[in-house]
């Protein structure tokens, strides 16, 4: 079985570093991007990204903008939003047409094991019959 490939997008270097240590130690292949303007290019170039963990509020492009651009390019990689904002409910309405639901959002700060469970659940669902 090949490693699952994660892309971690956060303007906070410390957060992306901690997450990449955590996921690498658990057998994932991790790419980190701290510059929001470069994320779309990375997604387009990198082969076989299985999941993106992305902050929402970032200088330059927001996570929501990046998500829309990725989907508009017909790239169907699942995205998990990791956000400190306490008011992310409004984004569900904005992204409803893309099939984004409440369980695609995780609050900062988060228990890393919970995040791992969530990542594994999304990866498992992705292999389901309707994807």
């Amino acid at each position: 079985m090949s490693k699952n490939k994660l892309l971690i997008v956060d303007d906070e270097v410390e957060i992306s570093e901690a997450l990449s240590i955590f996921f690498r130690n658990r057998g994932f292949d991790v790419i980190v991007e701290n510059d929001s303007e470069k994320v779309v290019g990375v997604v387009r170039q990198e082969q076989g990204i299985d999941l993106i963990i992305m902050d929402i509020k970032m200088p330059g492009l927001s996570g929501i903008d990046i998500f829309k651009q990725i989907r508009d390019m017909n790239i169907e990689v699942p995205v998990l939003f990791l956000t400190g904002s306490i008011a992310w409910a409004k984004y569900i309405n904005v992204l409803k047409e893309y099939g984004v639901q409440e369980y695609h959002f995780v609050d900062k700060p988060v228990t890393l094991n919970f995040l791992l469970e969530k990542v594994n659940m999304i990866l498992k669902n992705r292999e389901g019959p309707f994807e």
């Binding site: 410390e14 240590i21 955590f22 701290n34 904002s85 306490i86 047409e97 900062k108 988060v110 994807e131």
Partner: protein
């Protein structure tokens, strides 16, 4: 046999069922997959079973049919051939009788006196033993040969043997048993001690003796002995004639009578225990005693036909047919001959086996072709289902407008239509629910507005009433009040004071609103350091970090704690009422203090500062700590706008009733698209920024009743412009 095959087939079925039950799971796995695959596999399984059963029963039926036909044909052929054998032997014996009838009587009549006539039995025995010895030692040129083998009668016998290829030997003895004449040299002179002779001398005039099939030493071939007794006209016995028939030549015509190379023919003499095959190379099959025993077993059981697993030379399962050879003289001689015909099973069934193989190959080829055909055809069936599946996925992903489009005219189309109806109904319900919610919210809002208007009207009415009352009161008090201006002035001052108080409260309440907004944003901003702290601690707890990294982690955690504290402190500063701790000072003083503070840090490394202070500025009422933070922030921003170095010009000036402070940098300028956002709380373009700086500055300047503006020209730089009211114009 059929029963055995049936039993084998049944047990095969039982074993098949057992395997099916035991490996049901695995079979399910194999069949698991698309409908096409299931249909094709099921068809293949059914077709395979059907063809296998068909082939099996077809073969079984053909086998039995062929067996019946072949056994019938062999039986009839053997019957015909046995009749032929009878006829051949009869004819040959008739020939012998003819020779004796024509040749012998005239010659024998010349020599009627026997050499032993008048001798006693003892003298006869002596004479014969002497003659036997002489006969054995006689040379071909000797007188004995001349007397017996060169006589007229012997020559005519020799001529008969030469002419008739069925005869090996022919000779005559007199009544006591001594040789009279012969076609060639016999084994002995005296024949009266031979069994055949003793049987022949007892025969009536028209009877024959037939011996078994024996190897004849003198001729070197297989022969059959035939003998008859001679009578003279008076009815006295005058001698015995013996003829040896060449068995192999005798039965040669059988070959042309229908026994082809594949069938073998045997003639068995049950009495003489001999086995003879006229069509066998080498004649008697003496090397096959086992076969002989098997044949005898079959004959003794009384059957005329069977299949035997023959041993010996043939060594194969074979059809065997047995026929009796009837003849009157055979019966009288007590000779028991049987005619046996053999054909190998494998020769009979070879064409059937070839046919079975051809049929099996054809069936397999057809099976593969048909299965492939069915697989492709069943695509027509499973295609719409796949399409259906794709559409359902799209709808379930939230595409409400999408519908399933299937026009196959079958149950799947019906299902798709019904599914579309269901989706329509669901969408209608969802939409109407949304509309309902919107309506409810709209009503609530209108009700709220109505309530506000009502209260406003009520308030207005009350105010109007109060005003009317006041005016009437004023009117009544006008005269007395005109006398007392001082009292009026006091009242006016009181009103003004109240007004100011209200204004202050209003500002505070606006501040509270933005504070509420700020608090929710602050939560977000604080959550980042909290995330860093918590994840570092978790990594340490779970042992994800090397011991040497733990020290760094603690440093990171501490730094993030201070970061959280700073965010909270800035917010506290923003929310504090801003008029406390004010003093009237020259604005140049806090500027210089802020600059000193900055120059002690690394912030201004590549940046030169130009101080352009105006002298004799009017004092401004300032909260020194707050205003210093504003200046610090603005200069930090200016420095950060010039990462490669540059100049900050600080200019202070008097402007009408106000004091103006300008911080000008030589950076890139603020992009037009964000210039309207720069005072929004938490708006930032910096990677490490909180986005609080400018909004806090703005709040502080507003608190001093001043103004803060930015002017920016792309490529030339940015100016932050602050105006503050003079201290004597503040209140």
């Amino acid at each position: 046999m059929t029963l055995a095959y049936g039993f084998a087939f049944l047990s095969l079925c039982v074993v098949g069922c057992f395997i099916l039950i035991k490996y049901a799971g695995k079979i399910k796995d194999i069949v698991k997959g698309s409908i096409r695959r299931k249909i094709a596999l099921t068809f293949a399984a059914v077709a395979f079973t059907t063809s296998a059963i068909g082939l099996y029963f077809g073969y079984l039926g053909s086998y039995h049919l062929l067996k019946t036909i072949v056994s019938e044909s062999i039986y009839h052929e053997s019957f015909l051939l046995s009749r032929a054998v009878e006829r051949i032997i009869s004819e040959e014996i008739e020939d012998v009788r003819t020779y004796t009838d024509i040749l012998l009587p005239s010659e024998l009549s010349k020599n009627t006196v026997s050499p032993t006539a008048g001798m006693t039995e003892r003298e006869k025995q002596k004479y014969f033993s002497e003659m036997d010895n002489k006969w054995e030692q006689a040379s071909p040129e000797g007188s004995l040969h001349e007397q017996y083998l060169d006589s007229d009668i012997s020559r005519s016998l020799e001529k008969a043997v030469k002419e008739d290829t069925g005869l090996l030997e022919l000779f005559v003895t007199d009544a006591p048993g001594g040789l009279i004449a012969a076609s060639g040299k016999t084994s002995g002179f005296y024949q009266g001690d031979e069994l055949w002779w003793q049987r022949a001398i007892e025969l009536e005039k028209n009877e024959f003796f037939i011996g078994g099939i024996e190897f004849d030493d003198s001729s070197g071939a297989y022969g059959i002995t035939a003998a008859l007794c001679l009578y003279n006209d008076n009815g006295d016995k005058t001698g015995v004639v013996k003829a040896v028939l060449d068995a192999k030549r005798l039965f040669k015509p059988l070959q042309s009578l229908g026994a082809d190379q594949k069938k073998r023919i045997y003639i068995i003499d049950l009495k003489g225990d001999e086995l003879f095959s006229p069509l066998f190379e080498g004649g008697l099959a003496q090397e096959s005693p086992v076969i002989k025993e098997q044949f005898k077993g079959l004959i003794e059981s009384g059957k005329s036909f069977d299949t035997l697993n023959l041993k010996g030379e043939i060594n194969a399962k074979s059809f065997v047919a047995v026929q009796k050879i009837h003849n009157d003289f055979l019966r009288s001689s007590e000779v028991k001959w049987r005619f046996v015909m053999v054909q190998k099973n494998s020769e009979v069934f070879l064409p059937l086996k070839l046919l079975l193989i051809q049929a099996a190959v054809l069936a397999i080829v057809l099976l593969i072709l048909l299965s492939a055909g069915i697989y492709f055809l069943s695509g027509y069936l499973s295609g719409p289902i796949k399409k259906f599946n794709t559409s359902v996925s799209r709808i379930s992903a939230g595409n409400r407008e999408h519908r399933v489009e299937i026009h196959t005219g079958d149950e799947i189309e019906e299902l798709a239509d019904n599914f579309n109806k269901m989706v329509d109904a669901l969408v209608r319900t969802t939409v109407s629910l949304d509309e309902l919610m919107a309506e409810v919210n709209e009503r609530k809002r209108i009700e709220g507005e109505l309530q506000e208007s009502r209260e406003y009207l009520k308030q207005k009415t009350t105010d109007l009433e109060a005003a009317l009352e006041e005016s009437s009161k004023t009117r009544s008090r006008m005269i007395s009040m005109l006398d007392d201006n001082n009292q009026t002035r006091l009242k006016l001052e009181q009103s003004l004071k109240e007004l100011k108080e209200t204004q202050k409260m209003l500002i505070q309440s606006e501040k509270l609103v933005s504070l509420g907004h700020l608090v929710s944003e602050m939560a977000h901003e604080v959550n980042n350091p909290l995330m860093i702290i918590s994840s570092r601690i978790q990594l340490m707890q779970m042992g994800d970090l090397k011991p040497e990294d733990r020290e760094d982690s603690l440093g990171i955690i501490e730094k993030q704690c201070y970061r959280a504290r700073d965010i909270i402190q800035r917010l506290l500063k923003f929310s504090k009422p801003s008029t406390t701790g004010s003093e009237e000072i020259d604005v140049n003083v806090p500027i210089e203090e802020a600059l000193n503070l900055l120059e002690h840090q690394y912030m201004l490394e590549n940046i030169s500062i130009e101080r352009n202070y105006a002298k004799d500025l009017p004092p401004v009422k300032l909260n020194k700590n707050e205003i210093e933070e504003v200046f610090l922030n603005l200069m930090k921003n200016a420095a950060e706008a010039m990462p490669d170095g540059g100049k900050i010009t600080v200019t202070t000036s008097r402007f009408k009733d106000k004091v103006r402070v300008v911080f000008k940098d030589t950076g890139e300028g603020i992009p037009q698209r964000i210039i309207n956002n720069i005072f929004d709380p938490f708006f930032t373009t910096k990677k490490e920024g909180t986005g609080l700086g400018l909004s806090v500055c703005y709040g502080i300047i507003k608190g001093h009743r001043g103004s803060l503006d930015y002017e920016s020209v792309k490529g030339e730089g940015t100016s932050a412009v602050i105006t503050l009211p003079r201290a004597d114009k503040t209140s």
